[in-house]
């Protein structure tokens, strides 16, 4: 994660608020969506579509939050379906499964903390790029 990266312009107060909200949206839906991973993705998608015609700063951060949610959705869905298959089908509890669950719980916690940090920074108008997701957002989101 890189903070204080130069953004092409100094975002306005309202832009900073809106950008910050995209991360807060992810946080709220994470809490509401557990254990169904689709809920937080849906929340972020709705927020993304609400802001896709916003300013560059707003769009950039909405996109980064969305990409992050998609990745999290994939890992959480794998964990969720794996759990269901153990409960209701032939799959058995294995060390691989427990290992995976430990890792995704860790990933979710890291993501949660990172979201809070990024929401605070963007609220101050500071541009924050995450590793991989930031670069991918730069590729997708054009000024």
């Amino acid at each position: 994660m890189n903070g204080n990266i130069n953004f092409p312009y100094k975002p306005h107060e309202s832009e900073a608020e809106s950008a910050s909200n995209s991360y807060l949206m992810s946080l709220v839906t994470v809490i509401a969506g557990l254990p169904l991973p689709i809920i937080n993705l849906l929340g972020t998608v709705i927020f993304y579509f609400g802001n896709r015609k916003g300013t560059y700063f707003e769009r950039w951060h909405c996109t980064q939050a969305l990409l992050n949610q998609i990745a999290l959705f994939i890992t959480n869905t794998i964990g969720f379906s794996w759990s269901l298959s153990i409960l209701f089908s032939d799959n058995q509890l294995s060390n691989q499964y427990i290992g995976y669950m430990v890792v995704i719980v860790g990933v979710n916690i890291i993501e949660f903390i990172t979201n809070i940090y990024t929401a605070i920074q963007t609220r101050k108008g500071i541009h924050v790029e995450w590793i991989f997701f930031g670069s991918l957002t730069n590729l997708i989101c054009k000024e």
């Binding site: 890992t75 032939d90 799959n91 058995q92 509890l93 294995s94 060390n95 691989q96 427990i98 290992g99 995976y100 430990v102 890792v103 860790g106 990933v107 590793i131 991989f132 670069s135 991918l136 590729l139």
Partner: protein, 275 residues
């Protein structure tokens, strides 16, 4: 683009590395060993058997048990299995079924004996159930089907007879995981070969039941709880080819017929076999 790819590889590698690293720890072993001790299995098995023995359908005929135990002994001695710890229980029932219960209890329904054309067919089913016991499948199934919390309640003595009855019903009517069934079949073939019993009898029994089950589906419980019987027949025959052995007779026809007669008589006169 190259930078993004590198960052992706870094994140994915980190994720997979941590996952594989954590998976090296034996969570399953630790959890099962600590939570389901041998004592718990023994206690749970005793509770279930107490209930089964109190049923009016429990068969108490010494002669019959001697015959069935001789089949068990033949399998166990040849395979260095502690046969004395395996307790056979015969239940009067029109269902064709046999199942392993905790604490090395093997329940056989009378109709399974009646419908086995040869003692070798019954030996096949018994070898399969003994394999489940030897491979530790029984308690895995208990935990999966009734859950750790209910198991703790039953063992703790806080449950009513109804819960125990339901747990027994679940264990007798639900199948093991397919992988465990396949493993038990492979072990059963090995046991039969070591005991100089031709596994073809086991596959014949499976085939016969799988082809006739449609006529009387409810009666073929053992087949219903052991899916894909035809595939299993083929697998048993394939496994058999791996071994060379000399077939030795298991029981004489007269002794086997005697076992069936004892059960047929029991059907009409319930008190005949009371000790």
């Amino acid at each position: 683009m190259q930078k993004i790819l590198l960052q992706f590889i870094l994140i994915a590698g980190f994720f997979l590395g941590i996952w594989q690293g954590i998976s090296q720890f034996d969570f399953v072993g630790k959890l099962e060993i600590e939570k389901i001790s041998t004592n718990n299995e023994k206690k749970f098995g005793e509770l279930i058997i107490q209930q089964i023995k109190s049923s009016k359908d429990y068969v108490n005929n010494d002669s019959l048990y001697i015959i069935v135990n001789s089949i068990k002994d033949r399998i166990c001695i040849s395979n260095k299995i502690k046969g004395k710890t395996i307790k056979i229980h015969i239940i009067e029932s029109n269902e064709i079924n046999a199942f392993a219960l905790p604490d090395r209890n093997l329940v056989i329904y009378s109709q399974l004996i009646v419908d086995s054309k040869k003692p070798e067919e019954l030996a096949g089913v018994m070898a399969h159930e003994i394999a489940h016991m030897e491979q530790g499948h029984v308690m895995k199934k208990v935990v999966k089907e009734i859950g750790l919390s209910l198991l703790a309640t039953i063992i703790g003595g806080n449950s009513g007879g109804e819960i125990l009855k339901e747990a027994t019903q679940t264990l007798s009517s639900k199948a093991y995981d397919r992988s465990l069934e396949t493993e038990a079949d492979a072990m059963a073939v090995k046991y039969l070969v070591n005991a100089n019993i031709d596994p073809v009898n086991f596959s014949t029994f499976l085939f016969r039941l799988s082809t006739t089950e449609n006529a009387m589906p409810s009666a073929f419980n053992w087949i219903n709880t052991h899916p894909e019987s035809k595939e299993r027949v083929a697998e048993v025959l394939k496994l058999k080819k791996k071994y060379t052995f000399n077939v030795k007779p298991l029981l004489s026809a007269s002794i086997w017929n005697r076992a069936k007669e004892l059960l047929e008589t029991k059907k009409g006169e319930d008190n005949t076999f009371q000790q």
